[in-house]
């Protein structure tokens, strides 16, 4: 029994030391602003196109996702929600997004913003078509809604400082404030990204096997997507097998090892740059828009130390 207890104590110490280390709240807050900002941009640009199609889609095509079933079950909806509901849900989502970004009642507004986005996106994706780029961002918003991401750089923080000032308490500079709950959300998002890339690598290994490493497959996809989405650069590059072979191995290395960012802070900058190049290249050659992943890389950036350095130089 004491062996089990000792093992549990050791395990908890490792877990505690990894997830609950003191970390700057500024890193979390900047990620909150970036992620809510990106989701708002998507709500104002790409998502309305899909929402406008909803009324025209036959009910026979409605096969609700699990999230949609959970969200509509309390209202007893069997079929698709009435399109008129969009006139309430869509503007409400924008409002709560702005509140979450500005950081007023941050956790509550972030939670509601995340749920409304989940509803809109799951509704769109319950008609036989779904896409991947938005999924990780929704998960990241859910994670942030459970975190102290509004403790600094927010209306909540400004109100708290006003209160402290009235009561004669002096506040520390916001970029120096830390919390033991400030690192777990960013680490968890790194792990989510790592699992996503491992999933992609695993699928290539299981489905493609060694054939995937020969370069022919990526070459074929470059041309196919270049033709399909009118990306001449993809069609051109796809005609050079040695280039496709090099890109194949770079992709494999990146996908199999990205999870290291969650374990080794020193390699983060390298993977962020490589990821930007990878997803930028994928968009230019294949028009696959994984910009959300590039913004999610913000969890790897040491914002607070950069700000401290700039402020130190300015002083």
């Amino acid at each position: 029994m004491s062996r089990v207890r000792a093992w549990m104590t050791r395990t908890w110490r490792v877990w505690d030391g990894y997830w609950f280390r003191q970390a700057p709240l500024a890193n979390l807050a900047i990620c909150r602003i970036l992620f809510t900002g990106l989701q708002l941009i998507m709500l104002l640009t790409g998502i309305p196109r899909g929402l406008r199609r909803l009324p025209g889609l036959p009910d026979d095509l409605y096969h609700p996702l699990f999230a949609m079933q959970v969200l509509t079950a309390p209202f007893g909806m069997d079929g698709p929600p009435p399109p008129n509901l969009l006139f309430i849900v869509y503007p409400a989502t924008l409002v709560f997004g702005l509140l979450a970004m500005a950081g007023w009642l941050t956790n509550a507004s972030l939670t509601i913003f995340m749920i409304l986005n989940l509803f809109l996106q799951a509704w769109l994706y319950s008609f036989g078509e779904f896409h991947h780029p938005e999924a990780a961002l929704i998960i990241a918003l859910a994670i942030l809604s459970l975190s102290p991401s509004g403790r600094v750089l927010s209306i909540d923080a400004w109100l708290r400082r006003q209160r402290d000032a009235r009561e004669g308490r002096r506040a520390a500079p916001w970029w120096t404030e830390t919390s033991i709950y400030a690192s777990w959300p960013l680490l968890l998002i790194m792990w989510i990204l790592g699992l996503i890339y491992l999933s992609a690598a695993n699928a290539k290994a299981v489905v493609g096997g060694l054939d995937w490493l020969k370069g022919d497959t990526l070459q074929w996809y470059l041309i196919r997507d270049g033709l399909r989405w009118d990306a001449p650069l993809g069609v051109w590059i796809g005609q050079f097998h040695p280039v496709a072979l090099l890109l194949t191995w770079v992709t494999m290395w990146f996908e199999w090892t990205f999870f290291l960012v969650a374990l080794m802070p020193r390699v983060r900058w390298f993977y962020v740059l490589a990821g930007i190049a990878l997803h930028g290249g994928i968009y230019v050659t294949m028009k696959a828009p994984f910009f959300t992943f590039i913004v999610l890389y913000a969890v790897c950036v040491p914002w607070a130390s950069w700000i401290a350095r700039v402020r130190g130089r300015a002083a």
Partner: protein
């Protein structure tokens, strides 16, 4: 339970957060590696547990000289004229079109095809008597990309209320 702010010790908050961490990692892991179905006998088609997904894009192997399929859908009207049906005619995206009427024809699924036929007829006030799926492939050869011969994949007769499928 001990409550400290230095990162040491167990607290209710840490336990709750730890449960959330474990839950999120669990959900993403079992969907990313298909353990939902293999280990937990979970129900649901692809993407059912969105936003927890697997990422199998571009995993299927292809040979360099494999043709690039481009499906085009034609419909015959009652007066005998033919029109091309494009995704916008059915308020569909490219992917909904490929996984909708195109796939319904490729998989001999008349029940699914009829959904789209009825949608088109309701929108344009025209009755369709047949649909024909063609493939206009391209192929990478020694001289670069060229058009391969057009193939009639399937013609589906819609007359008499039942879709009958005929080969090329």
């Amino acid at each position: 339970m001990t409550r400290r702010t230095t990162g040491q010790g167990i607290s209710a908050s840490k336990l709750l957060v730890s449960a959330a961490i474990a839950g999120v990692l669990f959900c993403q892991t079992i969907t990313a590696f298909h353990w939902v179905h293999t280990m937990f006998h979970g129900r649901g088609r692809k993407g059912y547990y969105w936003p927890f997904l697997d990422y199998p894009m571009y995993s299927r192997p292809h040979a360099r000289r494999e043709p690039f399929d481009r499906y085009v859908l034609f419909a015959r009207l009652e007066d005998g004229t033919e029109v091309e049906i494009v995704p916008a005619d059915l308020s569909l995206t490219f992917w909904k079109f490929e996984k909708g009427p195109v796939r319904a024809i490729l998989r001999d699924d008349p029940a699914q095809l009829v959904v789209y036929v009825r949608s088109y007829e309701a929108r344009f006030g025209r009755r369709l008597t047949a649909v024909r799926l063609e493939n206009h492939p391209r192929v990478l050869g020694e001289a670069g990309l060229t058009d391969a011969p057009v193939q009639v994949v399937k013609t589906v007769d819609l007359v008499a209320g039942a879709a009958e499928v005929a080969g090329p």
